[in-house]
Assembly symmetry: C2
Homo-oligomer: 335 residues x 2
């Protein structure tokens, strides 16, 4: 009975939590016992051909648990993660609660797995748009050094969880039937619209979502001086985020050299044959784990003597942007 670890998924009924369960099964994660937790119990979920009940979280929930995957809001993580750690679990937390805590590693396993060595019970999963950008940028950063990043994101509704997915779906159906559209998950109608407002506004009138791209990228890449400016925009797409990335590099790199580096980079699929109409698109990157990278070209706006590239990336926000990355961290934890 003990040839595996005991795993809890907290927030199992949300979009990311449900995907974590799916990814654990898909990747044949060495689970001995799986415990599914949520604020409220009741329903059950499929697991290896059977049904596992979803339990309401209690102080006893994390007893005997080795790895706890948290897919809950930040304030819930802040309350429950220390309790889970006290019960002996390693917590992999998908919220923003602990990401910038100097005692908490912030990890994309393909990039900075080594940062996990020093963990004190909690390991943070980065923000989805940061993971998707860095899977493409980290190999280039290692090769030629990235000094500056200007990012514009095109973020899917799944970033607001199941409620976001349901709202785009419902608005689409209501529109097609000539009914009035109702709004609750987002600030405004998202069908046929764009909303340049994700998370709350903060420093310099940037949103926290935009500041995460800067702060988390610096921590993950160990590049405290990296200069980042980001515009985050919600788009009427289901589950893959896309991003236009303009980077300035310390040393020269051609698009061909970048393509060669990215072809062997973990987690990346280079899709960059524009004359054959091959470039990353969210419909193609949904429901799989690779970050597609394409439209790689020189930055025509650079000062003479400066170096840089423009890229276009797309990846599934629920999978590599959240659930898969968390499960990958858990794989390192138990290995």
């Amino acid at each position: 009975m003990n040839n595996g670890v005991n795993v809890a998924v907290f927030g199992a009924t949300g979009a990311v939590g449900a995907e974590m369960v799916k990814v654990l099964e898909e990747r044949n994660f060495a689970v001995n016992n799986l415990r599914l937790l949520a604020s409220r119990g009741g329903r059950s979920m499929k697991w290896r051909g059977g049904d596992v009940p979803v339990e309401a979280v209690t102080l006893a929930s994390f007893e005997g648990i080795d790895a706890a995957l948290f897919a809950v809001e930040g304030d819930v993580s802040r309350e429950w993660a220390p309790l889970a750690v006290r019960s002996g679990a390693v917590v992999i937390d998908n919220s923003s609660a602990f990401r910038m805590d100097p005692d908490v590693p912030l990890v994309v396993p393909e990039i900075n797995e080594e940062d996990m060595v020093t963990h004190k019970g909690i390991i943070a999963n980065p923000n989805c748009s940061t993971i998707i950008a860095l899977i493409a940028l980290a190999p280039i950063h290692r090769a030629v050094g990235i000094k500056r990043l200007v990012a514009s994101t095109y973020q899917a509704v799944s970033g607001a969880g199941k409620a976001g997915l349901d709202e785009l779906e419902q608005q689409t159906r209501d529109y097609a039937q000539g009914k009035p559209l109702s709004v609750s998950a987002f600030q405004y109608q998202i069908a046929f619209n764009l909303i340049p407002h994700i998370d709350a506004f903060g420093e310099d009138d940037y949103t926290k979502e935009e500041l995460k791209m800067r702060n988390e990228s610096r921590k993950i890449l160990h590049a405290p001086d990296l200069r980042v400016s980001c515009t985050c925009v919600r788009v009427p797409v289901a589950r893959s985020h896309s991003e236009a990335l303009t980077i300035e590099t310390e040393r020269a790199i051609s698009p061909e050299e970048a393509r060669e580096i990215l072809k062997t980079a973990p987690g990346v699929k280079v899709v960059d044959a524009p004359l054959d109409k091959k470039y990353p698109m969210p419909l193609d990157t949904a429901d799989q784990d690779l970050i597609y990278v394409g439209r790689i070209r020189p930055d025509q706006s650079l000062d003479p003597g400066k170096h840089g590239l423009v890229l276009w990336v797309s990846g599934d926000q629920i999978r590599k942007g959240a659930a898969t990355n968390a499960v990958q961290i858990a794989e390192v934890v138990i290995s």
Copy 2:
């Protein structure tokens, strides 16, 4: 009978052509006689409470015409514009055929009306995404000089004309009814997707649409050294283009100063109160003529000692991005 000018709209049945007719009427353009032209005649269109037949274009079509608004493909413009000029008409051409011709003024009346003085019969209407960006950027350029622009666009399906609008509508209805989606106006499905491919690929693997932003901006602003890099992306939005613009300026400018300048700039509406959830969105900017500008903030990625801003703009691509700008040019021509 002669208290007005004779106007032709060529391509009157397309999305831009039909809007030109609407804008001519809305603005009480001093039309004596209106002639509607298309490759094929047949139907008729509403004009001042009556019906005007759409005629198939012939060599006689432009006789007696003072101003001819062209909303046709580039190759059609290239064939017919010189013939219309020979008939004595001034052609205002919405295609890309003549935009970079040194003998043809490329005009946004709010910015460079004075360039029209030297026209030789043809005046070019700039590309939609260029007009929308420059209405916001030209006043800032005049104040502090723009050296560099990094632009990411979020372009509506109306950029592909009526066929583009119809395709998003049909795909949405088919999706809601569980039918398979068919694709013809765009390279791939556009509903719930993003396509980073507008117009053909060219220099440096940029699309022509992306290169237009650079080339046309330089010509309109009389800024041959302006450095521009652009990523153009089609999004599932009906008729307003939006753009994330990152500019480096020669002299310092604060977001507050930019807002003050833009508040009195022609064609601009500043919508920039993020804490009140006020920012430009394509649903709000459709079917009117102002370019909404917001999310104005410092560029956090600049080198120390450098100056710049990040902005978010949105404007109706069929109106100010095409039809209204053309009618405004015609108003200057006849005045």
